[in-house]
Structure formats: C-alpha cells, structure tokens
Subunit: 369 residues, 2 copies
C-alpha cells in the first residue's frame, strides 16, 4: 500500500496512509481557514482531528462549519458562502464525501465572486475563487479530483463543471469507519462513473484504461472491508473520478439525480444501484464497452443486454446490496422524474450515441420498483 | 481512434489524428518562434508542414533549426540556446522524437536562464524558461509528457529532471513514416519506461495501471504497422511517459545510457533491446511486478527469472528484432561502462530495492554480446 502523489489538471493529489501530514505544505501565508464538514464522518473517521492538529501546529485560526447534509441544497451552499465571507477565510478545507466537497466547491467560488448558488447552477461564470483543500472520506465521489459539483434546488438536483480542488488527500484509513451500506453505495457511485464514462460518446483510450481498472478493483475488493481492500476501493474511485472528469456521466446519473432530488432520503449511490441493472440493459445495446467493463467487474464474459442486466444484479446480490426503489419513489412520481430527466437534465442524455427515449425511462423505473 | 485531451502535471496534451490544428490556440501574442527538428523525420512525417501552415496562417515569424541528431550533445543544446536567444524567439516548437524534444527542453531554459548545458546536466537550477510546444514523432520517448531530458557530454550521457512541455501533440499518423527498425527501437524504449517504473522502489498503483496497459498494448500492436496499431503504440508510449515521470527508470536505462554515450551510433531503444533480456533476469529476482508486466507483454505466464529472460528474448524474436551488442561495444569498453554506471549514473541504481552489483553488470554485458 504505497503512498503517491499525482498532479492531474488543477489538482495536486496525495494518496495513501497518513498523507494529511502534507497539508502543512499548502498553508503558507494562510491565517484563517473555514473547515467544512458534515455532522459525523469527519469526526468519526479521525480526519477532522488530524486536520486540526496541523492547523494548530501552524497557528492557523479556523472555524468549523459542520452543517452539510447528504444531497446538499443551494441554501446550505449560500449559508456556507456567507459564513466564509464574514469570517474572511482565506481557504476552505472540505472534509467529507461528495456532499461536503461539492458544497465547498460552490462556496469557495461564491465567497469571492458573490451571488447565489442558484445562479451558478444555471450557468453564471466564476470570476474568482478561494483556495480549496479536500480531505475525501468516501470511495465513491471522485469529486476530490474532478471539476464537478452537484446541488439540489427544490426538487431539482443539478451538476455543473465548477472547479478543481487545489489540493486533495485520499487516505483509506478514513473510509474504515463508513457503515457497510454507505461503503456499498459509494462504491456503486464510483462504478457508474467508470461505466458511464466508457459508454459515453466522449470515451477514449485513457478513460478506458482507468475505468476498466476501476471496475476490476471494485469486483475484487468490495467484499473485503480491511485496510488493503479500502486502499484499492479508494484508488478505484479516484481513477474513476479522472475518467468522469474527461468523459462525464449520462443516463444513470441523470435518472438518479431526478430520484434523489425528489426524495433526498435516497442516497445517491443507493439510487444508482436500484436503477442500475435496467439502465445497463438499455445502454448495453448501444455500447461495445459495456460488456468489457462488466466483464472486468464480474470476472465473467457478458454477452447480451439481458446478460448484462443479470450480471449487475448478481453482483449487487454478491455484495449484499438490499433495497427497492419503491421504498423511496412511487409510480405517482414517475411524471416528475420524466419532467426533470427530459427537462433540466436533458443535456446529459445527449452524451450517448443513441436516442434515449421516454419509454426507456419508464421501463427502467417500472422494473426497478 | 478517438482524439482526446489530457492535462497532466505541467503539460496540456492533445492526442489523436490531426490534433496539431489546435496549435493555433496556444500562440496568442507570440510573434517569433524557433522550430527545432532533426534532418529528416519532421519533413518526411508531414509534421513540419502542418506546423508551418498554422504559423503562416497566424503570421508568426519562425526559423527552423534542423541540426539535432540522435544522442544529442551539450554542444548542440548550447548552439540551439544561442540561436533562440539571438533570434529573440518567444517560444520553441520541437518536432521530433526524444532527441529533438530533450534538446529543446534544455534550450528553452538556457535561452532565458543563461549558461552552459553542462551546468544544467550537473544540477544548476532553472530560473526562467520559454514556452515549449512539442510535436512528438515517435512512440517511445515519453518526453512529450514527462519532465526529463537527456544529453551527452563527451562519453557521458546524463538525464535530468528539467521541465514539462507546456503543450504536446501526439498524432499517430506522423509515426507511420518511421522505418521498421526505429519503430521497434522506440517501442522497446516505451516498454522499458513501463518495466522500470513498476520495478522501481517508487512504483504505485497508478504507475502499475498505466504500465501494465502499456505492456499489453505493445504486445498486441507491435506486429501491425497500420494506423490503428500506431495509435495504440503511441498511446502506450504516452502512458508509459506518465509512469516514468512518477517512477523513474533505473538499471536498464543506466546501462544503456553508458553504452550509447560511449558509442553514439547505438540507438537508445536498440541498446535497451540488446541488454534488456539479461537485465530483466536480475531485476526479476527482486520484483513481484516483473512477472506481471511480462505477462501483459507476452500474453503468457512468466515464472522464474530464467523464464522472464527467455520471454523477453522470444518477444524480440517475434517482432523481428535483430542486432548484437558486439556491433557497437567490445569487451575493451566494459571498464568504461562500469565507471559510468557506478559513477555519474550510480544514483539511478538506488531506485531499486536490491543492491545492483558490479558482477551483475558484467554478467549483463557479457551475455548480451
């Protein structure tokens, strides 16, 4: 389990055990910091304590903003932005999974560029931004190395390309405290970053190298919850983050964003798992890479679209995933899902080589109940 | 064969057919350029013509410096530096393989920082540097995406970490005009970048992901000289360049640099091929990754060190490599090779986990004759 560093696009990434000790190198001249977290994982994982020790050693003043929840809203991003601005923070340190990182991405821009998160979700350009340092706590998001961030506005959950973190830390020990269901959900998120990247129009050899390796590692490591397994899952998630950055997600993420926008109690990765098998059925018919990446995930040949769907269901069974879409969404919501997927999120559908039709969406929703 | 872009460390890379059309985006405000080439390949490949068309369209003044030869010397780097300085060039465009790119890397620094290439080879730090754009013409160097450059000073050939190109172009069509022997030599160079990266102390999962894929692609594509095969070989070489950048080369490159320093008629990749099998024998005994990467290259299980050596020899036979070390180097030179490898280049030997001994070097040289 060798630590390493990587410079990709705007981000300097430190990967491995105890890499947060390198944080001090990136705080030269910084006097005031806002640390952004959720309620629990930053503390339970030990990451907050490690960051606080570095900040205290350097006599950096900091305040902790710990109000970010899963499926974060524009309101919380606005609240954080104002907090950062009032505190005259010179840097944000986000400690958490995708929800925390994404909220901090928005607020690092809004605190200096002004305005409302809603506007940035709808295309307002970023003029200035504060330094953003990320300590990633899940093996799912990829947000520690990509330029995307997602927020919910009302019933709409929207992702935009907003900024890269300046510095990110991926330490597998912090993911040991993830509950088993969260471990499964976030890994499924990483898998769909890889799966959608290679089945998008924008796939290329580099995306395929990284995505196939991601799928292979998930297939081999999701059963183990030891540190070595976590190292591999976190690495798989990170390289899927690069894939996603180059070749962004499409149909499965579009539908899931609609679902967890409508019901914020649905965890993103759980939503992806629930609709994943039947979404794969439709994507598989139109992409050569679908069978390749599923073979890497499952270790067996995958032939037809039916077989692709079955292989993913078997995979979910093998890792003990449980859940049903009807726990979160009913048939009454389908029209809303359709409205969002073919409305605000329709640009995501244009990222595949085939026409994604409304009846395909209904088929996916119906069969996932 | 999909084109793509990638930002890695300091370099923006464009990969794919006709990507040089993007050159114009990177010449804003530039009025005077020095184009650096060798005698033949920039012209024969069509790359020089493509670059000249862009420069002429933009009314950029340019001069072509076409004196770089294989195994370039400090003298040619100094001559180019003075040329660039006298011409007040604001940017260098290097069109060639490793020799041209590496010479341009040095001169882009010396033209603004002053001094002699000899000093930079021995640790003088770079204070200022001119923009450097690279059009890579071989599927071997990796220099289009890494920070290294190699020059020869007398009988010593030395590599240093000097700079990343700002922008690089990898277009497989330019490599179609490589003679078959050059095609083999440069591919062997790429393979040893990958092989040495994963068998160095500094290997890590990212290096392994890229290096194993490089080896697999070389194994599958070196027999084909069509455009698709060239695309894959160039991609393999590029990702090996990233591997090398993160986890640099060691024993095989050290010995080869000594050999082609002593006899500049020995092409770098040819030298690597000639000593490769027996070098692999020694490295294999001390690295788990050796059998993995050789299995990716050859498509068969590789077990013992003897089997590893044999597998590489078989691979060279299968691609039609021919040559013998004694065509370039005699036993009289062995003491000089030892002096260089265990002298100037001894820092390279510390990049492996085992002690590389003088008797191992003599064994490699003797068995490679």
């Amino acid at each position: 389990m060798r630590s390493f560093e990587l410079e990709y696009s705007g981000t300097k990434l430190y990967f491995g055990l105890n890499v947060v000790k390198n944080l001090s190198k990136h705080l030269n001249g910084i006097e005031r910091v806002t640390v952004v977290t959720g309620k629990h994982s930053a503390r339970v994982s030990g990451a907050l304590k490690d960051v606080e020790e570095v900040l205290e050693d350097l006599d950096v003043e900091y305040k902790v903003f710990d109000k970010v929840k899963p499926n974060p809203t524009v309101d919380i991003a606005n609240e954080l932005s104002e907090f950062v601005w009032r505190e005259s923070s010179e840097c944000l340190i986000a400690i958490g999974g995708g929800s925390v990182i994404d909220t901090a991405k928005f607020s690092s821009c809004i605190a200096l560029s002004g305005g409302d998160a809603r506007d940035y979700l709808r295309g307002k350009s970023v003029k200035r931004l504060l330094p953003l340092i990320v300590v990633n706590l899940t093996h799912g998001t990829g947000s520690e190395i990509d330029r995307f961030a997602v927020l919910t506005d009302g019933r709409e959950k929207i992702g935009v390309s907003i900024r890269y973190p300046d510095v990110s830390f991926d330490d597998p020990k912090y993911t040991l405290s993830l509950p088993r269901d969260q471990s499964i959900y976030t890994t499924i998120d990483a898998f769909f970053h890889a799966y959608e990247a290679v089945t998008a129009k924008t796939t290329n050899p580099f995306v395929e190298t990284l995505s196939f390796e991601c799928a292979r590692l998930i297939g081999e490591n999701l059963k183990d919850e030891n540190l070595k397994g976590k190292f591999n899952l976190l690495y798989a998630s990170m390289i899927a983050g690069i894939s996603l950055d180059i070749s962004p997600a499409h149909i499965v993420h579009a539908i899931e964003h609609a679902l967890s926008g409508i019901n914020p109690k649905l965890a993103h990765g759980c939503g992806l798992a629930l609709i994943g098998a039947r979404s794969i059925y439709w994507i598989h018919k139109n992409s050569e890479n679908s069978s390749k990446i599923l073979s890497f995930l499952t270790g067996r040949k995958v032939k037809s679209a039916e077989d692709a769907e079955r292989s993913f269901t078997e995979f979910l069974d093998s890792i003990g995933f449980e859940g049903s879409l009807e726990d979160y969404i009913g048939r009454d919501d389908f029209r809303d899902v359709e409205g969002i997927v073919f409305g605000t999120l329709s640009y995501l559908l244009r990222r595949v080589k085939f026409e994604f039709k409304r009846e395909m969406l209904y088929d996916i929703l119906e069969r996932s109940l």
